[in-house]
Symmetry: C2
């Protein structure tokens, strides 16, 4: 026995299909009486509302926004910033009556899911060579697209953060406290992800890493950089241990994420150093304070949820036929108790 359709309901209620349709969509006034009848007929037939597949064909909209990642979900969502950003994005598109479809862009060359996914628009998360393929697909399909923290060129709206200015601000904070011997612990430099002291002359492939590094060097031109393998507490612990073993020991460590900073904090402590008396530590993000208690990290708080909401707004605009501008969000300085005057 096949499922009831709106035609069946209409017949049962003794009205036309279009009238029954309107009862469910609410697009046109319907007399209370006919509405009753239609609803009753629907109930008696076990009809639960229009088939979303048929509706989306007819409307030309599926109510779905695709989000493309370049990594495994398990990796992507380990970063609290991404998580919170997704939350903001979910809010924004939810407000639009849409949902988020998770799409993974593994550069594996296999048929990308993006090709055959019924999405109305696409959000590209982060940036990497592999994303170029996704971008090509999206443009060929003529879908509105937004890029978060990456540059897709040619008229694709972006949601950007003032990474360089923010990091420079926190670096100035340290310089004002008298620090001169500073090391910065960076996010991965490229997709090869090797940990260790970075050669100052090599170019950095990842936008976020490059910009935050530039911010530090705006203030401390000769600052040494130690690259991490990823934004994880235990990565910060390992890197922090290595950095603090260096002679002369830096008086401040500028980590490019709070997770890394949390690990450095722990490393300093295990090395018998007091924070901030012996060494100052800063982070970036301001999301995950989890794990630093009872300390409060000095960090740049970035509007992560706002990033997602801005992306959602851009999509709403493009779906409405307008074109959306690139948006540059700013982070704010938060002074915690992990930074202090340079040790005498």
């Amino acid at each position: 026995m096949r499922r009831a359709t709106i035609t069946d309901v209409a017949r049962e209620a003794g009205v036309s299909p279009s009238t029954a349709s309107v009862v469910f969509s609410g697009k046109t006034p319907v007399s209370a009486q006919t509405r009753e009848r239609v609803l009753a007929a629907a109930a008696s037939l076990g009809y639960t509302g229009p088939d979303p597949r048929a509706a989306s064909l007819r409307r030309g909209r599926s109510g779905i926004v695709g989000v493309v990642f370049r990594d495994r979900l398990g990796t992507v969502f380990r970063d609290p910033v991404t998580t919170v950003m997704m939350d903001g994005l979910a809010d924004a598109v939810g407000h639009l009556g849409a949902g988020l479809l998770l799409l993974r862009d593994d550069g594996s060359g296999g048929e990308p899911a993006l090709n055959s996914a019924p999405v109305d628009a696409v959000v590209l998360l982060g940036w990497s060579a592999g994303m170029l393929a996704s971008l090509a697909t999206v443009r060929a399909r003529g879908l509105p697209v937004v890029v978060i923290e990456g540059d897709a060129g040619e008229g694709v709206p972006q949601i950007l953060l003032d990474n360089r200015e923010g990091e420079a601000l926190i670096a100035r904070h340290l310089r004002d406290l008298g620090h001169r011997e500073v090391v910065t612990l960076t996010l991965p430099l490229d997709s090869r992800r090797r940990a260790g002291w970075a050669d100052p002359t090599t170019a950095v492939a990842v936008d976020v890493t490059r910009d935050r590094l530039a911010g530090v060097r705006d203030v401390f031109p000769g600052a040494r950089a130690y690259a991490s393998v990823g934004s994880l507490v235990d990565e910060g612990y390992a890197a922090g241990t290595a950095i603090l073993a260096r002679h002369p020991r830096p008086t401040a460590i500028i980590a490019q994420s709070d997770l890394l900073a949390t690990g450095v904090l722990r490393a300093a402590r295990d090395a018998g150093l007091r924070v901030p008396e012996d060494v100052s530590i800063t982070g970036f993000d301001g999301i995950s304070t989890d794990g630093t208690a009872p300390r409060i990290l000095t960090t740049m708080v970035q509007p992560a949820a706002e990033k997602g909401r801005a992306a959602g707004a851009a999509i709403a605009a493009m779906l409405a036929g307008q074109d959306a501008p690139t948006i540059r969000l700013t982070s704010t300085f938060r002074r915690g108790d992990t930074t202090g005057a340079v040790p005498a």
Copy 2:
């Protein structure tokens, strides 16, 4: 100028629409020659493949699996177990050629997105009263549904974990080490989420919490329980501080998650206690070891990715018309260096 359709392509290539269709679907052999012609026509018209909306109406499948949460995404994905599980689920449905649609079930009574989402099947994550509404919707629509760590009753396949047995196993480990004065730090008891010592007589609403607590009490019938507000490191820190201040001080703390245990570890340290010499600490999950370095937590390692994959397999079976069995996964004991003999 409207977008080209497969009919346009067929006309341009001088073949019938059905032939053009099979060139893209590959469902039927096509001569190399006609394939060439069709592909060339498609390229010249800027046709990038069948419209997913139309295809899904015709096929009766959208290639989308909905995942329903009861919380904000930012909250849900803060738990590494969920994250890894989602990764496994994404793998499994990706293997099926499908994607994951994030659906939030805020019990807010508003039109649930689930009603009008073009999904082929649904995964219900966690369990709560609010999920009943989602379940009703899903059943009314006749969609295959799987529940992860929750009981939906009546023939809904579940993916379960041996929470009680696993926690009992870790409790026995402590008993064998001589511990008698044990406190367990639990996950939230219910949706009100109040922190503090739990009355042993009140019923626990959350399945996971209840089962793990029962596991502890199977071994230590009188064990006191302290409820946390959520599975967070700093929650563990606060609770651990409170628990360790109690007289007599427990010789072991059984935390219901690794994140909580990580916080307790930190609290013990800040209280001047050595682990495991003065106090033993255990966790549960075995996913996020991040933040405990250089210590290794004694814990139960649960097959989180496997949970997701099992859910995916169940969905694949149901989509194929078979009915999927409930699956009970088991976690394995991992002895780290946070447990030791009871202090003299």
